[in-house]
Structure formats: structure tokens, C-alpha cells
């Protein structure tokens, strides 16, 4: 991004620059976004991460973070305790999640530990977060429920958008190559199920993506690496402008796609009466029409993707 576009205002960093806590980013003619704070007329970074500049709003996308539950997120959790009328889950966060029994049975009375027991891994939605950040979870939605088999890989939650890629380009490519079912929770837990050998390859690849999320041209490199491991030969080099864009621009955009979505919705005053589920259904229909249903391998179709698609539909 060009500095001159901002005229007389003082800005000390460029888009996608690596910054560290306490570093001065700009003067307060800019708006401080997430990962920044105002101090004596300057905007400073509060975390180690990459700068994202847009319309005089300055943000820092952290390279490492802990998941803080947010309403509407889809997460993967492990049952850590069974109580009288609820399950307690570890959702890879400083805060534990709880799944009330009525979310599962409705009014019926059943024994809780016969349905889900300690150690079970579930795919859930965050229904509500209270002021002390306790997350209430639910199972309503497509593909929600208990996982059978598979392995869990954990990555830092800020790198989830990178693992998904633009319009799911990265995740679909991995699914395609490894023939594994992959489900990504926004809390940074990833469930992988398939051939034992492929599970291990996928696990390594996901870890690699996490480690190199901040570098460019990643989708291509991962693709080559996967082809090399699985087929034993180098992939044919293809010029893919889509992927280039993916790495250059999409990352900061994807990071806070929800915020931006909300913002855009406000600005354009469009679709504001629709909730997630409605738009989700709509996208599903459209996807079927367009015959690009490759997103729905196994149980893995989540609202997460549909939000991406929704953005695309604007």
C-alpha cells in the first residue's frame, strides 16, 4: 500500500509489516483497530503480528493467540466433565464451554454419560457468551455432533483463516490430495479423519501451514509438497493468479471477515434482516446450482465456509 495515499498523516509502517508490542505505528489521525492501542497521540501495537491497513483503520493481526469464545463461532471441544444437567468441554481456550442437556435432548430426560462421555470430541456452535466469557454451546446446525475416530491437530486460532484459504482453496486442496475428511473449528482445533497414513501426512502439513502462515506463495508450495509426498513427483508448475492474490491480500481480509461483513452490511444496508442460518441455506442452494459442492466433503460443511461464500456473493 502506498504511504502517499494518506497525505500528511504520519504512518511508520507498511501493510503486512511485522511489528512487535509497543511499536509506534502511526499518529492518532488513524483509527486504532484490533491489536492496537492509543497512547499519547500515537497508535501502538499491542501484540506481535502483521499490520493490516484499510481506510485509515490500522490493525495488527497477531501471529499467536488464544481463542476467546464469540457468539456464532463453530468450535471443536473435548468433554472434560459430565455434570448433573450439562457437559463441560475443553475448547482450547482460557475459558471452558458448557453444553446444557436440554440443547441435546430438549425436554426428554436421559442419562448424560450414555450419550456423550468424558473424552468424546464434539463439533459445536457457541450459542452465547456471558460477561465472564463462559461459553454456552449448542449442537444445532449441519454436521454438528460427536466425531468418530480421526485425530485432532491444534493450531493457533489466528491461523485458521490461512488454513482455509481463499474460498477454502487451501483446505479443499488438502482434502483433495489426501482424501481425508477435515473439519476446522474456529478455536484452532482441526479434526482429520481418513487413511492412517494420510492422517499423519495431513497433520504434518497443517503444522507446516501454521509455521509458515505469514509467508507468501504458501498454497502453491503446500500443493507441491503434498504432490511430492503422495504421488512421489513434483507438481507441474501452473501460474495461478488466484493463489497469488490469496496470499497477497486475502489473509488480513479473511482474518476478520466477520467484522468486515458486519461493517459492509451496515454500510450497504443490505441483507440486514438475514441471519446466519438463512444466508447459509441460500448459499447451499446456490452452491448446488453452480455445482461447486466440493465444499461439502463429509460432515465438514460449516457456516464458516458459507460466510466466506456469502462475502463472495456480494
Amino acid at each position: 500500500m502506498d504511504n502517499n495515499a494518506y497525505g500528511d498523516f504520519m504512518i511508520y509502517v507498511d501493510n503486512k509489516d511485522l511489528v512487535i508490542p509497543g511499536q509506534i505505528l502511526a499518529d492518532d489521525e488513524f483509527y486504532p483497530g484490533r491489536g492496537t492501542f492509543k497512547d499519547s497521540g500515537n497508535i501502538c501495537s499491542s501484540v506481535m503480528g502483521l499490520v493490516s491497513l484499510r481506510n485509515k483503520k490500522i490493525r495488527v493481526i497477531p501471529l499467536k493467540s488464544k481463542y476467546v469464545p464469540k457468539k456464532g463461532d463453530v468450535v471443536i471441544g473435548k468433554i472434560s466433565d459430565v455434570k448433573f444437567s450439562m457437559w463441560e468441554l475443553d475448547i482450547n481456550s482460557p475459558y471452558s464451554g458448557m453444553l446444557p442437556a436440554f440443547e441435546v435432548f430438549g425436554r426428554e430426560k436421559k442419562e448424560l454419560n450414555k450419550v456423550f462421555d468424558i473424552g468424546d470430541v464434539l463439533f459445536l456452535r457457541v450459542v452465547e457468551v456471558d460477561e465472564v466469557k463462559k461459553a454456552k454451546l449448542g449442537l444445532k446446525g449441519r454436521g454438528m455432533g460427536k466425531f468418530k475416530g480421526g485425530v485432532i491437530v491444534d493450531i493457533t486460532p489466528t491461523k485458521v483463516p490461512r488454513l482455509i484459504g481463499k474460498k477454502g482453496s487451501m483446505i479443499n486442496m488438502i482434502k483433495d490430495k489426501t482424501k481425508c475428511n477435515i473439519v476446522v473449528g474456529q478455536n484452532g482445533l482441526v479434526w482429520v479423519s481418513g487413511d492412517k497414513e494420510m492422517e499423519n501426512i495431513t497433520k504434518d502439513i497443517i503444522k507446516l501451514i501454521e509455521a509458515e502462515a505469514h509467508t507468501s506463495g504458501l498454497t502453491d508450495r503446500i500443493k507441491n509438497k503434498l504432490t511430492l509426498i503422495i504421488d512421489g513427483e513434483e507438481a507441474v508448475e501452473e501460474e495461478d493468479f488466484d493463489d497469488y492474490f490469496d496470499d497477497q491480500l486475502e489473509k488480513p481480509k479473511l482474518q476478520n471477515f466477520k467484522d468486515e461483513l458486519e461493517q459492509e452490511e451496515l454500510e450497504e444496508k443490505k441483507n440486514d434482516d438475514k441471519d446466519f442460518i438463512d444466508s447459509y441455506k441460500e448459499i447451499k442452494k446456490q452452491n448446488k446450482k453452480d455445482n461447486k459442492n466440493s465444499l461439502s466433503v463429509g460432515k465438514s460443511n460449516t457456516n464458516f465456509y458459507s460466510i466466506l461464500n456469502k462475502k463472495d456473493d456480494y
Binding site: 512487535i20 497512547d39 499491542s46 501484540v47 482460557p94
Partner: protein, 231 residues
């Protein structure tokens, strides 16, 4: 004597010992750092913010930080009895106090950040080195901070105010003045004083220590950037 070295190890009065910081050395910790300054070797691990199992420490409006400073039994010449003692309890407390003003844990209520400082080899100035390494590890863990706290000491040896005391200088010197600051604003988060200093000597030592902190701060920043740029 002008121009020649005044100090035992051949340093100038305002010269730091060689310093090396490495970031992200431990896989299982959320953030970690390894620091070597002179003969000191310090390893710091940071965990959190995480759910606390100590209910009484939790605060409903913000997260809390807890520190543990520990010296390995083999870190000093005479074997140190393992376990906490008066000195390490004190340093644990002042380290937590020195780091706390920089942390922004408002977004993590009811959580706890744990900092473990392990001194593997000690050669004077471990508390400052511990603070320096701990704040780097906190930044590596992705914990929101106003600034990267940095520690450095000054003192008086042979009636001369010098920077960054070594073990011999600390034992035989007349005064020791450990200091920790937030370098961007220059706010002091830790200031201790041990020994005799006149008013003018004190201000001189403070100024020297500030200067040392700024130098160490540059190395901290460089070390943090290096983790993501050298690959």
C-alpha cells in the same frame, strides 16, 4: 588511568556484557525465550492466558500474572539447595510486579498467565536478565502488552559508577541498582537499591542503567523479529 579499562573483565564503565536472546525455544510452552548475558544462562517459559485452578487469585475484570523465579542447584559454584528460598520468593514477586504494568489482560478476565524463569547458570544480574527474557517470552506467547519491559543494573565499584555488574563486581562493589523500564515511555516498573550511593551517584547510576536498558531493548526487539524473518 584515563582511557584504560577500569573493570576486572576489561569492559568500559558503560559497556554491557555480551548478550544473546533466542525466542521460541520450547515447543510445549505458549511462549519462551533463552537468554545469555555474560555467564548467565536463563530459560523462560510462558503459559497462558489459561483457566486458573487457583480460584482465589482470579479477578472478574482482568487476567492475572504469576511468576516463578528458580535457580537450578548447579547454577552457582557452591551447590544451591533446591526449592524456593527468601531470595527467589522476593525476585518472583518483583518480577511479576515489574511485568504487570505492561500487560493488557482486560480481554482475558478470570484467566491467568504463568511465567517460569529458570536460572541455569548465574553470574550476577539474574533478576534483570530474568525480566528481560520474561517479557520477550510474553511477547512470543502473543499476550497483549503496552511495551516490552527491559531490565538492566548499574552500580558502584571502586568508587566508580558502572553498568551491568558481574558477579565479582556485585560481591565486591559498594552498590547495586537494578532497574526495569518500559522503553517507549521510559516508565520505571522496578527500581531497587542495595548499598551506599550519594544523591549525585544515584542519579548518575540511574541514568546509566536507563541507557543500558535502551541498549538491551534493541536486542530484545531484534530477537523477536528474527524468529519470523529468518527462515
Amino acid at each position: 588511568m584515563i582511557g584504560s579499562s577500569l573493570r576486572e573483565d576489561g569492559r568500559e564503565y558503560n559497556e554491557l556484557r555480551p548478550l544473546k536472546i533466542e525466542v521460541g525455544v520450547l515447543d510445549r510452552a505458549d511462549g519462551s525465550a533463552y537468554l545469555e548475558v555474560g555467564g548467565n544462562k536463563i530459560l523462560v517459559a510462558v503459559y497462558g492466558p489459561r483457566e486458573s485452578y487457583i480460584r482465589r487469585l482470579l479477578k472478574p475484570n482482568t487476567g492475572v500474572i504469576r511468576c516463578r523465579y528458580n535457580m537450578a542447584p548447579f547454577s552457582v559454584d557452591d551447590r544451591k539447595r533446591p526449592g524456593p528460598d527468601r531470595r527467589s520468593s522476593e525476585i518472583s514477586k518483583i518480577t511479576a510486579d515489574a511485568l504487570r504494568p505492561a500487560l493488557m489482560l482486560e480481554n482475558y478476565p478470570r484467566s491467568m498467565v504463568d511465567v517460569f524463569i529458570e536460572v541455569i547458570e548465574a553470574e550476577g544480574g539474574t533478576r534483570c536478565a530474568g525480566i528481560t527474557a520474561a517479557s520477550v517470552a510474553l511477547a512470543d506467547a502473543g499476550i497483549p502488552m503496552k511495551d516490552i519491559v527491559v531490565g538492566c543494573a548499574a552500580g558502584k565499584v571502586n568508587n566508580e559508577i558502572v553498568l551491568d555488574l558481574s558477579e565479582v563486581e556485585d560481591k565486591e562493589g559498594q552498590a547495586d541498582l537494578p532497574l526495569a523500564i518500559m522503553p517507549r515511555t521510559g516508565e520505571i516498573t522496578l527500581l531497587q537499591s542495595d548499598g551506599d550511593l550519594s544523591e549525585s551517584e544515584f542519579s548518575k547510576a540511574l541514568e546509566l542503567a536507563m541507557d543500558g536498558c535502551m541498549q538491551v531493548s534493541e536486542i530484545q526487539k531484534e530477537a523477536l523479529r528474527k524468529k519470523y524473518t529468518d527462515e
